[in-house]
């Protein structure tokens, strides 16, 4: 589904070139549940951003279903993200003035869906992430775990092929982290969307079926494994 082909990314920081990724090549299959792990500065977030079309590689290319992201203009990249990619952020990035329901609904409105046509779908998804009682609350009234559940529902509501999660458990305690991971795993099965994490949280790595370790922008190893986590 997603091919990363000899991708390098160089940033210019303080007049100096900093290579965040060195000639990375790998493939992500449909329905994957995988993570990029590694220490800070290893290039995890950079690769997630490149896959999401938020940034462009310095060299090499990323192909989504055979189409190069590098050849897309800003509007095409926006459409790619709108139609195919769901994002989950470390600090949730919920829209503060909107309720849980409205936050989840928002990506569908961007796809020009009528609210009346998707109302039930949004409610069902909110229910699936266990937030029905909080559906009319605003993010400021929710706990961190609840906010991340909203973010997950929001990422999945448009049935994306790809969900990119940047440190999704970094702001959560252990119990909430496990709940969130279980939820994502379940949704990965239900929705068939590929979940790609970047994390240095070991709890996440217990759940994934594939783990890619980055070190200073290089792939140190890429292994497929049997998940160790608990499954509900």
């Amino acid at each position: 589904m997603l091919v990363i082909d000899h991708v390098s990314k160089i940033y210019r920081v303080g007049g100096q070139d900093f290579t965040a990724l060195h000639d990375i090549s790998l493939e992500v299959e449909e329905g994957a549940f995988m993570s990029f792990v590694g220490p800070s500065g290893s290039g995890k977030t950079t690769i997630i951003n490149l896959m999401g079309g938020l940034d462009q590689p310095t060299s090499g290319e990323i192909l989504f279903k055979g189409r190069s992201l590098a050849k897309m203009d800003r509007n095409e990249l926006a459409a790619y993200r709108r139609e195919n990619v769901g994002f989950i952020f470390q600090s949730y990035n919920l829209l503060p003035v909107y309720t849980v329901y409205e936050n989840v609904l928002f990506p569908l409105l961007l796809n020009d869906e009528k609210e009346s046509a998707v109302r039930e779908k949004v409610r069902a998804l909110v229910d699936q992430v266990g937030l029905s009682p909080e559906i009319n609350k605003k993010p400021t009234e929710l706990s961190g775990g609840q906010c991340q559940r909203v973010a997950i529902a929001r990422a999945l509501v448009k049935d994306p092929a790809l969900v990119l999660a940047d440190e999704p458990t970094a702001n959560l305690d252990a119990e909430n982290s496990y709940h969130i991971l279980e939820l994502m795993l379940k949704l990965n099965r239900d929705f068939k969307a590929a979940f790609i994490f970047c994390t240095h949280d070991e709890k996440v790595t217990k759940y994934v079926r594939r783990e890619v370790r980055l070190e200073d922008g290089f792939v140190e190893w890429d292994k497929t494994k049997q998940p160790e986590g608990h499954f509900s």
């Binding site: 938020l54 993200r81 709108r82």
Partner: protein
């Protein structure tokens, strides 16, 4: 869709939106108030002069100039029959000559104004002169305005020596009694002016049937050797003065609009600065930068249009209150501005509409200008809150 989202954002931003709207609305009210006050000022000054002096124009001796007192006695004329025959509601005969009074033994040069009795064209409170129907014998009844009374230290009932020169050049003097001190809304006919009956002034100066001018309700066509001076000409100096003031009003208008614009610009700039992560999130959702620019511009525009609505409500309340109390500008009478009472607003609907349109247009531009930055923002930087510094 953009509008719905913008409306929701605008309404949910609470205090931030409210303050933005209130500041803009107050600026709009201030702009319109300022213009309306000048309109009211001009209107009232002109109305006062017309009511007490100018009427619908003057028939004068050609070359007569009120500012050349040495020539007054040479520029009188016999009232033409066509003007004499006009009803009292349509004309007032006035004779103006030089004179002196000696209050407290000090010489005080005055303008002696003889006013035709029974006239109702000019709004002058001279009943006490009307009631004095006897010819002049040993005392001359006079009326002065309050300002003149203050300057000359004269009061009702005081007697003062009045000196004049008749048409043959002979100087004469007699006691004059102040029969009334009246409030005159036009200081130009107050300070330095001694009012008396026209028949008395004619009798004292041997100028039977003579006038300096005849104020008329409207133009009567060419009349004998007289020259018709229209109201605009008679009001020229005050209109020029007001026109000059109007330029200052426009400067204030521009400053107020500029301040309102800066306020909205600042709010918008802060808005996008504080909402960088939100902008980044919108980009991650797949919202094209141009749509985000549109979203923020619509939000800003909503503030502008809401401000118009609030300004209309707020303005109506403030204006209604102001019209009930007015603004005391009596101090201006000292500078010969013909207003001594409170002034009120005169609202010109076209000016109001133009002001609101101009302000709204500026608000939309300043709502859009800062958010243009968004179109150049990198999503990854925006998500970190580092795209706009």
């Amino acid at each position: 869709m953009i509008f719905q989202i913008a409306l929701k954002n605008f309404l949910r931003q609470g205090m931030r939106s409210f303050l933005n709207v209130v500041v803009t609305a107050l600026s709009m009210v201030a702009v319109v108030f300022n213009l309306s006050l000048y309109n009211g000022f001009q209107d009232q000054a002109v109305r006062n002069m017309v009511a007490t002096d100018v009427a619908g124009g003057h028939y004068r001796h050609s070359g007569f100039d009120l500012l050349s007192p040495m020539e007054w006695e040479d520029q009188t004329f016999q009232t033409p029959g066509v003007l004499t025959s006009l009803p009292a509601t349509d004309k007032t005969e006035v004779l103006v000559l030089q004179g002196q009074i000696f209050p407290n033994r000090r010489l005080f040069p005055v303008q002696l104004r003889g006013l035709e009795m029974g006239q109702s064209l000019l709004d002058l409170p001279f009943q006490k002169l009307e009631e004095w129907t006897k010819p002049v014998e040993d005392i001359i009844p006079i009326i002065i305005g309050k300002q003149m009374a203050g300057k000359s230290h004269l009061h009702i009932g005081d007697t003062v020596v009045l000196r004049w020169r008749d048409r043959f050049g002979a100087v004469d003097a007699l006691d004059a009694r102040v029969v009334d001190v009246v409030p005159l809304i036009n200081p130009r006919i107050d300070e330095g002016v001694v009012w008396m009956r026209l028949d008395h002034l004619r009798q004292l100066t041997h100028r039977e049937g003579e006038v300096s001018w005849v104020a008329v309700k409207q133009f009567q066509g060419e009349v004998g050797n007289t020259e018709y001076v229209p109201p605009n000409e008679l009001l020229k100096d005050i209109l020029n003065l007001i026109e000059q003031d109007r330029k200052y009003a426009i400067i204030i208008w521009v400053i107020l609009i500029f301040l309102a614009g800066i306020s909205v610009f600042n709010t918008q700039y802060l808005n996008i600065f504080k909402r960088q992560r939100e902008i980044g999130t919108l980009m991650a959702f797949g919202m094209a930068p141009s749509r985000i620019v549109r979203l923020f511009t619509v939000e800003g525009s909503l503030a502008a249009f809401s401000a118009v609505g609030v300004a209309l409500v707020l303005g109506s309340i403030i204006f209604a209150w102001f019209q009930s109390v007015g603004l005391d500008v009596s101090h201006l009478a000292e500078s010969q501005i013909p207003i001594r009472e409170n002034i009120f607003l005169k609202i010109d609907p076209i000016e109001v509409a133009v002001s609101l349109l101009v302000i709204s247009a500026i608000m939309i531009v300043v709502a859009w200008a800062p958010v243009r930055k968004i179109s150049r923002v990198e999503a990854t930087q925006a998500l970190r809150g580092r795209a706009i510094t």
